[in-house]
């Protein structure tokens, strides 16, 4: 017969006549008790050992009990101090005795509550008497503490203390009882027979190998045990960037709401970025330092000439019978200057004009979640480049109520409810609203976007004859709201912290 090494060792250490505990077998085999226990059960299954179980009760002193071994029981110390003070003759003031005893805090209460019980004397009206017949040396509890001082987890029937004293010590919290199951093992007859016939030790195997499987050897081998509780070496699987995950979620939501995605150039002519948006050429945002103009190349080659004419006319003269233009200069060369787009509304103007994918008939819904560039101050909440969520709906006769309903629906998908609309001004929308929402965790009112109905001065030159409502929002803002990040630079860009990216919780 072949058995794993541990089982062979246990069989050889066990005895047919005398039951041995697992601990005893562990000592004999020099194997850990858990290993022996495992081996014993397997041997029992094989009918090679008989296992009997009994419950052992052991006792041990608590920390408090051990303290009293050194210092004496509080009531004994009180008694000794009382004798010293002459309380065996006349009652003595309790304060004096306690002071002399050196007892403090909780120990005083313990001493007082046990003093009379154990016949050391009486306490009455703040005075204490001592019974001169009492004998601390005969104090059963004190003696039991002495007796138990040097043993650890002594079997309860092996100690020289009566059960009444044990119980009172336990009640006082000076002693702990522990019950444990002790398994005792004896060899069966079959084991004796097998042992006489000779048992071989089976090898343990570290790894399942092709040879092991094909040879059938796996049936006879035992696999070496692992410490299955130990932590493995750290593993970091790949993960989609957290901001990208958020962008994907936004895209999914918008596609679900019937929006088509736009795509277009990051470097674009001011014409598409601003002029088509009815932004006057002397608008502070256009000359302002927050724009990234290109040093090289400087100008776009071609713009659709008739569109340029219509846009220029809108800027100069306005649109419609009562329309007025801006009293600002307009220069085509200025419009052809290249810059990094400051908003993705440049994509909207390209799509609305028909330049990108041909003329669009209403109804239409379009969106993009793409990067924009602003020369702002780089700080925990501002980046030079960030993602803008841009969306618009084109239809006949849109109202601000449609706009409000659309945004409520969108934001509710991200847990942002109770949108508030603050009337606002944008050169390219009227009416315009800043959107405010309630932070899902802090309850703060935070700005979450800008929206409005595109002006006719913007739409008419683009050739759009129905209404278009639009809105924009920074994706990073949504991310920070959703995750509560404090410094966006840890997430987005080359200063990112890999650990943070790796450990950020996945959402869905």
């Amino acid at each position: 017969m072949q058995l794993p090494a541990q089982q062979v060792a246990v069989l050889e250490a066990a005895n047919a006549d005398e039951a041995l505990s697992v601990d005893a077998l562990a000592a004999a085999t020099e194997l850990p008790p858990e290993t022996v226990t495992g081996a014993v059960f397997e041997l029992e299954d094989e009918g090679l050992v008989a296992v009997s179980e009994r419950t052992d009760e052991t006792v041990a002193l608590t920390d408090e009990g051990r303290d009293y071994v050194d210092t004496g029981l509080p009531e004994v110390r009180l008694y000794e101090a009382a004798l010293e003070a002459g309380a065996d003759a006349d009652p003595v003031s309790m304060g004096q005795v306690i002071g002399a005893s050196g007892l403090e805090g909780g120990a005083v209460d313990i001493a007082l509550s046990n003093y009379a019980r154990k016949g050391y004397g009486a306490i009455e009206g703040g005075e204490i008497t001592a019974d001169s017949d009492a004998d601390p040396d005969a104090d059963a509890e004190a003696n039991a503490l002495e007796a138990l001082a040097d043993v650890d987890d002594a079997p309860v029937d092996g100690v020289d203390v009566d059960s009444e004293t044990l119980e009172s010590l336990e009640r006082r919290g000076l002693l702990e009882r522990t019950e444990s199951t002790v398994r005792e093992v004896t060899l069966t007859e079959r084991a004796v027979t097998e042992l006489m016939a000779g048992i071989e030790t089976a090898e343990t195997v570290g790894q399942v190998t092709p040879e092991l499987l094909t040879s059938g050897e796996w049936e006879d081998v035992e696999f070496a045990e692992y410490n299955v509780e130990a932590d493995a070496e750290r593993f970091d699987g790949g993960k989609v960037h957290i901001l990208r995950q958020t962008a994907e979620r936004v895209k999914d939501t918008l596609v679900g709401m019937g929006f088509q995605e736009m795509d277009g150039p990051h470097v674009d002519a001011d014409f598409w970025i601003n002029d088509c948006l009815f932004m006057p050429q002397d608008h502070p945002a256009r000359t302002h330092w927050d724009r990234f103009a290109l040093e090289r190349p400087t100008h776009i080659d071609d713009l659709p000439a008739d569109l340029v004419d219509r846009v220029e006319r809108a800027h100069r003269e306005g649109v419609g019978e009562d329309g007025e233009g801006y009293h600002s200069p307009w220069d085509e060369d200025f419009a052809r200057a290249l810059a990094l787009r400051g908003h993705t509304t440049s994509l909207s103007t390209r799509y609305l004009s028909g330049e990108e994918i041909g003329d669009l008939e209403p109804p239409q819904r379009y969106f993009s979640v793409e990067k924009v560039y602003r020369n702002d101050t780089l700080d925990p909440t501002h980046l030079l480049e960030f993602f803008q969520i841009e969306g618009w709906v084109m239809a006949e006769d849109l109202s601000v109520r449609d706009l409000m309903g659309t945004f409520e629906e969108f934001y509710s998908q991200f847990g942002i409810e109770d949108i508030r609309f603050k009337p606002h001004y944008n050169p390219y929308t009227e009416p315009s609203f800043e959107l405010f929402g309630t932070h899902p965790t802090t309850g703060e009112l935070v700005e979450i976007g800008n929206s409005g109905i595109f002006r006719e001065e913007m739409l008419e030159p683009l050739g759009v004859e129905c209404d278009v409502m639009a809105w924009g929002l920074a994706l990073e803002r949504l991310l920070m709201l959703m995750y509560g990040f404090e410094d966006i630079r840890d997430i987005h860009g080359t200063l990112c912290d890999l650990e943070l990216l790796r450990d950020t919780e996945v959402t869905y």
Binding site: E295, D322, H424, T494
Partner: protein, 570 residues
């Protein structure tokens, strides 16, 4: 956004609502779109304003709007100025760049400290907004009693707007006690230095004279002689600029503010060489607004009376009329201080604000459209999914970078023809020297992330599907923009084969033919570098990063890497 400081006591005074607490006022101001940002040192409200209602740049204008909001005022109010006594004569010598001037006389002003402070703030805010930092319009306010008009014709006092040689004449500017020429002012005076750029290119500088001499050097600084103080009772307001409409509107806003302080307005004749105009121009425009359009935009039904009421509560006046095709329209009168009403839609916005936009019930539009992703964005997502499946951490880096990071630290030169090192699209005024151009490839960003994270555990296998751009004259914008698939494998045993295995997997995933013929690239170790050729076209590079580049990035582990154009997987 710009801010304006308003004294709450003045506001209570001018609106006649002493009972309003500061908190009440803050709420009411929010309703007007003026957001409370905090208080100044003097306890004034600091309010953020959207730059459309420039008639609300001072406490007088804000109070006027609030009186409409409270229902204390209705409709349009226009002050009646007295007939002109003074004339501004515009000389032929006026610089061509700044040909326009306008003005008004304001009498019996009660200028206490607060009123003067408010007037100065209004002037500053108008300069900053409509005036485009004084380039488009600049305001000069003078103590009328200090002016001596040359008696030109029939006793009418006249001042002259002229052009002068930079060193032609002298005057004592504000905040100085020395006579200076205009050229001296630009050179030596603090305000002059600030605004020097506005006129330094001019051949002749703008100047205003009375019979005593030069008293104003617009748009830079006034003379000290005519300085306004709390003792001033009568004022001469002049404005010069590049556009008549703009300065006339700025003048109207100032006139309304002073009129609200109880002043009397008096017209001024502006005598151009070829025409004469009388200012301020307090004439009113009307806009024809269709009833249907109001209902469509607001999404609610309204009675004509309601519309007229909303208009009056907005400080407008509306009269019912019929359009040519027989539809109900309103002739809406716009007061002369409004600069933001370009189109009937702007009137509808006013009506909506008066109605209360937040009173409107949101509704989801019943419009059927089919949603979908852009092809590029679908491709990008699929490739990203594969890369993550291959164990890469997905990166998202900045598109702006420095020349040094993009080229030098990877040992490539900007004029090199190796993959990645194309000609850069550069930024005119970068935020800092770290962000001077658009990256021409993503490899530099990935190495920067490795450099920044050497204290984090390895392996660090990073991938980015990212934007890159280079100058390309064949493109309309002059810039070829592309998406790159970049990947780095950084760990103790990283080698060419690891990178190649993953590249091969990608090629299989997208069913394209991959070849990797040997090549040389300074970023990578010679003999361990290949071109990435997909479907017969060279689209990228793969190799083991050269120790020189590793050491440059403080890396102590080998790195293998590849980068190629996303479009190759189509």
């Amino acid at each position: 956004m710009p801010t304006v400081d308003i004294d709450p006591d003045e506001l209570r005074d001018l609106t006649g609502h002493d009972e309003k607490s500061d908190d009440d006022l803050i709420d009411d101001l929010f309703g007007l779109g003026l957001e409370f940002e905090g208080r100044t040192e003097d306890g004034e409200f600091e309010l953020e304003f959207a730059p459309d209602r420039l008639d609300r740049l001072s406490v007088e204008g804000v109070a006027r709007s609030m009186r409409y909001q409270y229902g204390d005022s209705r409709g349009v109010h226009v002050p009646s100025p007295n007939s002109p006594e003074w004339t501004i004569e515009v000389a032929e010598s006026v610089p061509d760049e700044r040909p326009y001037v306008t003005g008004a006389v304001v009498r019996d002003v009660d200028l206490d400290e607060e009123a003067l402070e408010s007037l100065i703030q209004l002037q500053e805010k108008l300069h900053a907004t409509m005036g485009r930092k004084r380039a488009k319009g600049a305001i000069g306010i003078h103590d009328l009693t200090m002016l001596k008009g040359t008696a030109a014709t029939e006793g009418n006092p006249t001042i002259q707007y002229v052009g002068v040689e930079p060193d032609e004449d002298r005057f004592v500017p504000l905040d100085s006690d020395q006579e200076m020429t205009p050229a001296d002012v630009l050179e030596d005076h603090q305000t002059g230095q600030t605004y020097a750029d506005l006129v330094s290119e001019y051949e002749r500088y703008p100047a205003i004279y009375d019979s005593i001499g030069l008293f104003s050097f617009p748009p830079v600084i006034n003379g000290r002689r005519t300085e306004v103080s709390t003792d001033s009772r009568d004022l001469f307001v002049e404005m010069t600029g590049t556009d008549q409409w703009t300065i006339d509107k700025m003048l109207n806003i100032v006139c309304y503010a002073l009129s609200a302080r109880g002043a009397t307005l008096e017209e001024v004749r502006v005598d151009y060489p070829d025409r004469e105009v009388v200012r301020p121009d307090l004439s009113m425009k009307t806009k024809t607004v269709a009833h249907d359009r109001i209902e469509t935009i607001l999404g609610i039904g309204l009675d004509p009376d309601e519309v007229i009421d909303l208009a009056e509560r907005s400080g407008l006046e509306a009269e019912k009329a019929e359009s040519e095709d027989g539809n109900l329209v309103y002739e809406v009168t716009i007061p002369p201080y409004r600069v933001d009403v370009l189109h009937p839609l702007d009137v509808i916005d006013d009506l909506g604000r008066a109605y209360g936009f937040n009173e409107l019930e949101p509704r989801y539009p019943d419009i059927g459209t089919v949603g979908g992703r852009h092809e590029r964005s679908r491709l990008e997502r699929s490739v990203r999914e594969q890369l993550v499946g291959h164990g890469f951490e997905d990166m998202l880096n900045f598109h702006m970078i420095s020349e040094e990071e993009n080229y030098e630290r990877l040992d490539v030169s900007p004029d090199g023809d190796v993959y990645g090192a194309g000609e850069a699209a550069t930024i005119k005024e970068p935020y800092s020297e770290d962000f001077t151009m658009l990256r021409t490839w993503v490899m530099p960003s990935l190495l920067m992330v490795l450099e920044r994270n050497t204290h984090r555990s390895y392996p660090q296998n990073l991938a980015e599907i990212g934007f890159a751009a280079e100058v390309d004259e064949s493109e309309n914008t002059g810039v070829a923009e592309s998406r790159r698939v970049g990947a780095v494998l950084a760990h103790h045993e990283a080698g060419y084969e690891d990178a190649k295995a993953r590249l091969q997997a990608l090629a299989r995933n997208f069913d394209v033919a991959l070849e990797t013929p040997p090549t040389d690239h300074p970023t990578f170790i010679s003999g361990r570098t290949a071109a990435v050729v997909i479907d017969g076209e060279e689209v990228g590079v793969i190799g083991e990063v050269h120790p020189k580049v590793l050491v440059e990035h403080d890396l102590e582990v080998p790195v293998s890497a590849f980068e190629f154009d996303l479009g190759a997987l189509r």
